[in-house]
């Protein structure tokens, strides 16, 4: 009986050593998560709904481990899942305090109402609005990210968010309803 006990102990010790070694080796092999890698998954609207004032600062906060990963409504649940995948954290539904996930939209300026104050041009983080002082402004659809930053900037409330062109034309197949739901 003593021999059996000794063998078990020796085996246990050997496995413990092997596991510790493996754990160290694998941890070294794990890639460091860079701010750039996180930033690449964010939608770059610079809308500030996350509370960090922009995509890059949010990516930095995520890299430091200070921020929740569910604070980006424009990225949607797909974005949350991509972040969770990269960071090795659990995906969580979008924080309603930050906003709701919306269909892709672009800003549209009511050109009859626009007074040409350039305030929206200054608010646009991607220079998607063209126009000059006392001249009518207009949004370049292809460049607009739908961040909505120009909407509160307008003193005459002439900017509305409308469905992105092309979104209606495009037909994506629906997600099949599933009898497989719970089995993963």
């Amino acid at each position: 009986m003593f021999a059996a006990l000794l063998t078990t102990l020796a085996l246990g010790a050997a496995f413990a050593l092997a596991l510790r070694h493996a754990e160290r080796r694998l941890r070294a092999a794990r890639r460091a998560i860079t701010v750039d890698a996180i930033d690449a998954l964010l939608p770059q609207t610079q809308c500030g709904q996350c509370g960090y004032g922009g995509c890059r600062p949010y990516a930095e906060a995520l890299a430091r481990g200070e921020a929740e990963l569910n604070r980006c409504p424009p990225g949607g649940m797909a974005g949350v899942r991509a972040l969770a995948n990269l960071l090795g954290r659990e995906p969580r539904p979008i924080d309603p305090a930050c906003g709701r996930e919306k269909a892709p939209a672009v800003a549209l300026i009511d050109e009859d109402v626009c007074i040409g104050c350039t305030k929206c041009i200054q608010a646009c983080p991607v220079d998607a609005i063209v126009g000059a002082s006392k001249q009518m402004h207009t949004v370049v659809d292809e460049l607009c990210t739908g961040c909505e930053l120009c909407v509160p900037a307008c003193p005459v409330d002439c900017i509305a968010m409308v469905a992105a062109p092309g979104a209606a034309r495009e037909q994506r197949p629906a997600r099949p309803g599933s009898a497989q739901g719970e089995r993963v």
Binding site: P43, Y52, R81, I121, Q171, P173, P176, G181, V184
Partner: protein, 527 residues
């Protein structure tokens, strides 16, 4: 009989992974010869398919066009030209519903035929064997020759680089679809001439013209045609009838024993595949100067009265086409664009024939098995056994059910050829193909969103650096002004108690103080 028809008896036919023998049901459509579909009262020619960039119409409302006249250019990099399919008047340029999985509706040029069907041909290149390949490629571009096997990919692009091997694909493997077989039976000489032309353009040393061994009439017709007009390096091949033998990758495997690399193209291993109808269309474009204005469409299924193959103008509505085939029967239950395995169910028949429409299938109610309930996966592995792309359908399903698109991507979802065999073989009736199509569309959308985000980041960074530069320049200017003023101000000269520069400097200081700490938001001042 098939064996002695092969030119080189030593040629070995390889086997691809998976696949299935299916009930072919092609006889109904092949019972009659190819019929010319009469001119419909209106032709709606789609300018873009496959969700490309928006197309540009080259004609305006009210303009008279002739058959073969360029009416539009696709907005993609390839700029495929589209042509009027008969002579008449343009009555509208507007978005119309399309028979496409990705695009609900697209820009169409609507032509009211005048009945004269007057051609505007390009100058024929009779001695194409002596013509430089650039000239022939330009002709194929101008004539709008695209892949007629269902892909509608511009042929000139596939031919742009010289490759040693050409495969002319007549292995029409999907049940019901018989347009290529009808073409081979009746116009094999055009296909052989087209194959010779494509081989010439490609500089191919070896050309395989492949059909399935279940098409003996087509094979015999091809043999006669090739005997009459032989060309160097040509070989006929009868491949086993096994779905999806006509898939590009599967056919390459069968004929050469080589695998197209995952995520790669046949061009990567020196092979180009073209459909037999594409070869015939290319020959017509070069030797007769005829642009692509019509194609052969199989109209079949238990839901139509007189199934058959029709030579239909591009832009003919499916409604008109089905009416030529005797109309719907009482049992008609479902309309598909394409065959039963890969086709797309259409909500109505008010969509036009495009270059990609090879089959219009109307299934009867007794063909449908929708009522079979979907059951949980029992891990039988039947799907993996039949998958010709050697994927892991169960694992892909698990990834997609969990919304793990990255996982599905890692398991090579992009290599799925959407043949539909996994769903066909599944004893639990899981709509696997629907899942994979959904996953592929989601991945595509995700890729687009990433590309847009990258572009937005570029513009944001450019704007930030511009604002920083402007701010620095402003500060520099005001500092220079201040220095100027200090130098010119004489002691004792009358000066105003507070200078304008001092005010500006104070404003700048106040702004600097107000600016949030570095971790805060993007500065909003400037411009």
């Amino acid at each position: 009989m098939a064996v002695n028809l092969r030119e080189s008896p030593s040629m070995r036919i390889h086997r691809f992974h998976g696949g299935m023998r299916l009930d072919l049901r092609k006889q109904a459509a092949l019972a009659r010869p190819i019929r010319a579909c009469p001119l419909p009262p209106e032709l709606a020619i789609p300018l873009a398919t496959r969700g490309e960039a928006p197309a540009r119409a080259l004609v305006a409302h009210g303009q008279r066009v002739r058959r073969g006249e360029a009416i539009g250019r696709a907005g993609d990099a390839h700029g495929t030209t589209l042509h009027a399919s008969t002579s008449g008047t343009v009555v509208a340029v507007e978005p119309r519903p399309l028979a496409d999985a990705e695009v609900r509706e697209g820009l169409c040029v609507v032509i009211e035929p005048d009945g004269a069907d007057e051609w505007l041909r390009l100058p024929p290149i009779a001695d194409w064997r002596a013509a430089p390949r650039e000239l022939l490629l330009e002709r194929l571009r101008d004539a709008g020759t695209v892949g007629l096997g269902g892909g509608a990919f511009p042929s000139a692009i596939k031919l742009a680089a010289a490759q040693p091997t050409l495969i002319v694909n007549g292995a029409e493997c999907e049940p019901y679809v018989a347009c290529d077989e009808a073409l081979l039976r009746e116009r094999a000489e055009e296909v052989v001439a087209g194959a010779a032309l494509l081989a010439h353009v490609l500089g191919a040393a070896r050309t395989f013209i492949a059909v399935e061994d279940a098409m003996p009439e087509a094979l015999a017709a091809l043999e006669i045609a090739l005997h009459d007009a032989p060309f160097a390096g040509a070989a006929l091949a009868a491949v086993p009838t096994r779905y999806p033998e006509g898939g590009e990758r599967q056919l390459i495997r069968a004929l050469t024993g080589r695998e197209v690399p995952s995520g790669g193209l046949p061009q990567d291993i020196g092979i180009v595949c073209h459909n037999v109808a594409t070869a015939a269309a290319a020959w017509r474009a070069v030797a007769r100067g005829e642009a692509l204005t019509s194609r052969i469409v199989t109209v079949t299924g238990a839901g139509v009265a007189e199934p058959g193959n029709f030579e239909a103008r591009i832009g003919t509505s499916l409604e008109w086409l089905v009416a030529q085939a005797g109309g719907y029967t009482a049992r008609a239950a479902r309309l598909l664009a394409g065959g039963p395995m890969m086709g797309i169910a259409l909500p109505h028949d008010g969509v036009p024939v495009s270059a990609a429409t090879h089959c219009v299938l109307v299934l009867a109610d007794h063909d449908l098995h929708d009522d079979a309930p979907e059951l949980p996966c029992i891990r039988c592995g039947e799907c993996a056994r039949v998958c010709p792309a050697q994927l892991l359908p169960q694992q892909l399903l698990a990834d997609l059910c969990a919304d793990d698109l990255a996982g599905a991507q890692a398991h090579a979802l992009a290599d799925c050829i959407e043949c539909g065999l996994c769903a066909y073989a599944c004893p639990s009736h899981i709509p696997l193909l629907d899942w994979y199509r959904w996953g592929k569309a989601e991945l595509r959308a995700q890729g687009d969103a990433r590309a847009r985000a990258d572009a937005a980041r570029g513009r944001f960074l450019a704007r930030e650096s511009r604002l920083a530069r402007e701010r620095a320049e402003r500060l520099q200017r005001s500092a220079a002004k201040r220095a100027d003023a200090a130098a010119s101000a004489q002691p004792g000269a009358p000066t105003s108690p507070i200078s304008k520069d001092a005010v500006l400097a104070a404003i700048a200081r106040a702004r600097a103080k107000k600016r949030p700490p570095p971790a805060g938001g993007a500065p909003k001042d400037g411009a």
